[in-house]
Symmetry: C2
Subunit: 414 residues, 2 copies
């Protein structure tokens, strides 16, 4: 008897995090694993032995297909950082006791860099104590800031959502401005890395001029230079559209959104401050200084949960990295994360590989500086060539009464 599989989801959800879950489940099924368990709310739930039996919810291939079309973390997510091993061995011992109790041999965790830390700690502890369990990381983050993998599942769909919505917003903004320009500032997620904001550039095509300016967190933000550029644009164009990362910072290190009166003080369990209000602050500034109509748009969580607009390539890759991670664990790998290697961008061809989790956990990958052009206000063709294949293809939702159907934990099957 091989032992059972447990899988958890962690951090901010994506449009395709459940596709990775579907891949893990399929690999476990194909290997004849007896029990496939899910952590309810990730490692936080696991510590409370809040564990579900996947077979209670997912029985047929059509359940798996619907799971792939369901946004957000089907199992529930968490933002929970394990304590360091030294001085907290009781926490780790308890986790291995729970694994023994459920005969869990393969531990899969779907998450971003904070979450990969969990795989690192658990595999380190297992090595130290001579435990047999295997721990594999499944990459997931809309932020695309994991190192070593060409890109991360979740990014392609978020980029497709951002580029599609930018195109629609630009068309909307262009429709006015007969007598007076309208300035629209779109705030996009990405605390330290500008990958998501850069995706706004993908909207540029023969039928869309794309945003006029793109501000990334990789470049210090200069409010005066920003206002100068907005005024110049408004003098020649009836529609000005600007993409700005929620994470843009002044040269002195303060977030631009902290300048706003309505800035939030909320800090999450990973110690991250909640960022919001950058676009609202800048649009108020534009209207005050120019009298022009301006509008702030925040994509907010929509950019990470709009599975109705998921990228086919992304859904497939998310599924594959889940499958490969589970298969690798069963084959004996541990302490690694699956990575995507792109062997050709056109035609688009990928391979999957595995990499030591110690090189990945807590490391952030940002946009290369030579991909950022126009004094830090746009991205180059190198970025476009990199990102274009990631948004190709569409996976249609299953519709009921005009709305996409989802699979949820509220519909237990047995």
């Amino acid at each position: 008897m091989k032992g059972n599989v447990i899988v958890g989801q962690s951090g901010g959800p994506t449009a395709v995090i459940n596709s990775s879950l579907a891949g893990v489940i399929k690999a476990a099924q194909n290997n004849g694993i007896e029990k496939i368990y899910g952590m309810h709310h990730g490692i936080e739930g696991f510590l409370k032995e809040d564990i579900i039996d996947i077979a209670d919810y997912i029985q047929s291939p059509s359940d798996l297909s619907l799971l792939k079309r369901t946004p957000s973390a089907f199992l529930g997510s968490c933002r929970y950082k394990l304590p360091k091993i030294e001085g907290n061995e009781d926490v780790y011992d308890k986790m291995f006791e729970i694994m023994d109790k459920y005969n869990i041999e393969y531990f899969l965790y779907i998450g971003g860099n904070d979450s990969m830390d969990t795989i690192k700690m658990l595999s380190d502890y297992a090595a130290k104590k001579g435990k047999s369990q295997k721990f594999m990381g499944v990459p997931k983050t809309i932020d695309n800031d994991l190192p070593l993998t060409d890109h991360t599942p979740g990014y392609g769909s978020a980029a497709k959502y951002i580029a599609t919505s930018m195109k629609e917003i630009i068309r909307d903004n262009e429709s006015f401005g007969a007598s007076k320009p309208t300035v629209c500032i779109v705030e996009i997620m990405g605390r330290h890395a500008g990958w998501l904001t850069a995706a706004a550039a993908l909207s540029k095509s023969s039928d869309c001029e794309g945003p006029d300016l793109i501000y990334l967190p990789e470049v210090p933000f200069d409010v005066n230079d920003f206002m100068k550029r907005v005024k110049e644009l408004a003098a020649t164009k009836s529609s000005v559209v600007i993409a700005v990362s929620e994470g843009v910072k002044l040269a002195d290190g303060r977030f631009v959104c902290e300048l706003s009166a309505s800035s939030s003080d909320y800090v999450d369990a990973f110690g991250h401050k909640q960022l919001s209000g950058t676009a609202a602050y800048l649009t108020n500034l534009v209207t005050q200084e120019t009298g022009l109509k301006s509008r702030a748009i925040e994509f907010s969580t929509l950019q990470r949960c709009a599975t109705h607009l998921a990228s086919r390539a992304d859904v497939d890759e998310a599924y594959d990295v889940g499958y490969v991670a589970c298969q690798s664990a069963i084959n004996g790998d541990t302490g690694m994360m699956v990575i995507i290697q792109v062997t050709s961008r056109e035609p688009y061809l990928v391979n999957y590989n595995k990499y030591d989790i110690h090189e990945i956990a807590n490391v952030e990958w940002k946009i290369p500086h030579d991909w950022i052009i126009n004094d830090g206000t746009y991205v180059s063709n190198k970025y476009l060539e990199y990102a274009r294949p990631l948004i190709i293809g569409t996976i249609l939702p299953y519709y009921a009464s005009g709305l996409p159907k989802h699979l949820t934990l509220k519909n237990k099957k047995r």
Copy 2:
């Protein structure tokens, strides 16, 4: 010789306003009209003789199909109120001179209640002066606040966008909250009528519990009662999601968003104050008073331009009202707006009719009071039965490089 057709688009764009344009064009073509003109930026452009020849941009049936899949006003829109006839006869005389110059006999205007005023004024002036031109209104508004028509083209697609996005947001919000509830407040357009905000209720289904509370502008907003309800919900649920109209007002008549420090003072040409920040204000209040994580989401212009998620029924009806309006003008009707009559909701069957524009212009239709339940915090099944057929069906975009293709004025064909 019959004379030519001119068509304009006015007010806030919708996902299907171009489908109405396609219907007008098709009817004109089918009647052998020689020239089909477009007003560039509506009546505001027309007054400056900024007129385009539709044939320069739209030549084949596939152009019309792409036009139906293009968001926002293809011809450009405006917010421009004609002056009253008395004392401004020169303005009206000039407009009829332009019509004579282009041999325009049929004048179609696609818009909402403010825009229907234009049709009323022009048809009144024509009657007074014995002019032969015919003026017909084509209904359009995401707000669904036009009277006499069962509903207005543009509403169904906005409702589908809102319900789909609400479902995705609710799933996203549910994924957290293992240890502490998360409160998400979604701000939805609708200055005086709650039709759009009510559409959040459509997300409620076997796989989604829907929003917990829905606040409409038809009901005075009580901040204390709101906080009491949020605290009660947060005591029993890990995810609280609330839909709130941008137009909710306190009992004293102030907009809730005016309580926010970042409230905008911008006022548009129709005298409407720009509303924004209601959700941001309320989430800050929730976090201050409860310490809970809260998140504000504004659908902003996305709800009126997300053609990638348009409702099939809405696209078809928008096309039909455009077609019927143009055909009616050619048949000799004037001073009327086309209306949709629903003869059966299940199966869903519609008729088109025409109605005197004087009964429509500047009148706002709101949600009936007996459709609002739970002390003004939800909508009843009567609303759901009314709205469900309007979001049925999907019309797929034409994709290029992973993004929906659009038809634009920047791609002149000859």
